[in-house]
């Protein structure tokens, strides 16, 4: 019984996204000029090559955020069924959180969050 719901949701998702894109493409006026492709830098042209190796700290911040974002994504369905399953679900989630907490502690100690 559950499989039809997944298909319906999948279809609804695809239709909505594709429809919105197609409709806006159909209606919106399009104009192009030399400056439109330029990267926007508060009204000026960029200085020097923009393809340069900058600090890796940005990437580490993004990854840490992503990990905890996905974690919350897992928490939500858990919270829905948490009441019926009872104690087992609680222990599972604690293990899950501790593992992620360990990951954060490791990154913190190794200095991923330090900016200088």
């Amino acid at each position: 019984m559950g499989s039809e719901a997944i298909i319906v949701f999948l279809l609804a998702g695809i239709v909505l996204v594709a429809g919105a894109n197609f409709l806006s493409n159909l209606i919106s006026p399009k104009s192009d000029n030399s400056q439109k492709r330029e990267p926007y830098e508060s009204g000026m042209t960029t200085i020097g090559p923009t393809w340069v190796q900058f600090k890796v700290g940005y990437y580490l911040y993004a990854i840490l955020f992503l990990v905890f974002d996905v974690e919350v994504a897992f928490l939500i369905p858990w919270a829905v069924v948490f009441k019926e399953i009872g104690m087992v679900a609680f222990v599972e989630i604690i293990i899950f959180l501790v593992i992620l907490g360990l990951g954060l502690a490791y990154a913190w100690k190794k200095g991923a969050l330090k900016w200088e």
Binding site: S31, K36, E38, G43, T45
Partner: protein, 186 residues
């Protein structure tokens, strides 16, 4: 309000009225109305205050005069997400190419309000000034001019409502981009 866009025919109209087009535009006009209604009531302005008029624009954005009652809810810093430039202040020779680049980088459909005497014609800096561009329409095509130095918040609101009325008269088929032919001086 300025532009009268109601389409009913006045009573004392001499002669017969011939509906335009082959009837297909019944759908298009109604689609136009919906699109124009959507566009007119959700114009996002760009952060572009150069001098004193910017303070009056900020006062219009604050609680008392509040232009978000008319759909100008958000002022966006980047031209990619803005539909409307309110040129609040003087445009100087060094700033003109920047303004032109911001206008070009904005997504269609885009509108321009020239707020204040400086943006309309150079204002108090018209005479004896070697660095002021005498009016923003030397740089980009302007839709609505709001006079005043600085114009009162109510005047700016009136200008915005006029722009909304102007948008409501547009039609998708014969949409003319104001920038075409602007450089050649048409």
């Amino acid at each position: 309000m300025g532009v009268n866009n109601t389409s009913e025919i006045p009573a004392d109209f001499p002669g017969k009225v011939i509906p335009g087009g082959n009837g297909a535009n019944i759908l298009v006009t109604s689609l136009d109305d919906i699109i124009n209604w959507g566009r007119a009531n959700s114009l996002w302005s760009l952060y572009f205050g150069t001098s004193c008029c910017a303070i009056e624009m900020m006062q219009t954005g604050a609680a008392r005069h509040d232009y978000s009652r008319f759909g100008f809810e958000v002022a966006r810093p980047s031209p990619r997400q803005a539909d409307l430039i309110i040129i609040a202040g003087t445009i100087v020779n060094k700033m003109a190419p920047v303004l032109r680049r911001l206008y070009d980088q904005m997504a269609e459909p885009k509108y321009v309000i020239a707020m204040g005497a400086c943006a309309i014609s150079g204002g108090p800096f018209f005479y004896n000034s070697y660095s002021v561009v005498k009016g923003a329409d030397h740089v980009i095509p302007v839709d609505v001019y709001v006079p005043g130095c600085p114009p009162r918040p109510e005047a700016l609101l009136e200008g915005m409502l006029m722009l909304q009325a102007k948008i409501k008269t547009e039609s998708m088929k014969n949409k003319v981009f104001p920038i075409d032919g602007f450089d050649e001086g048409l």
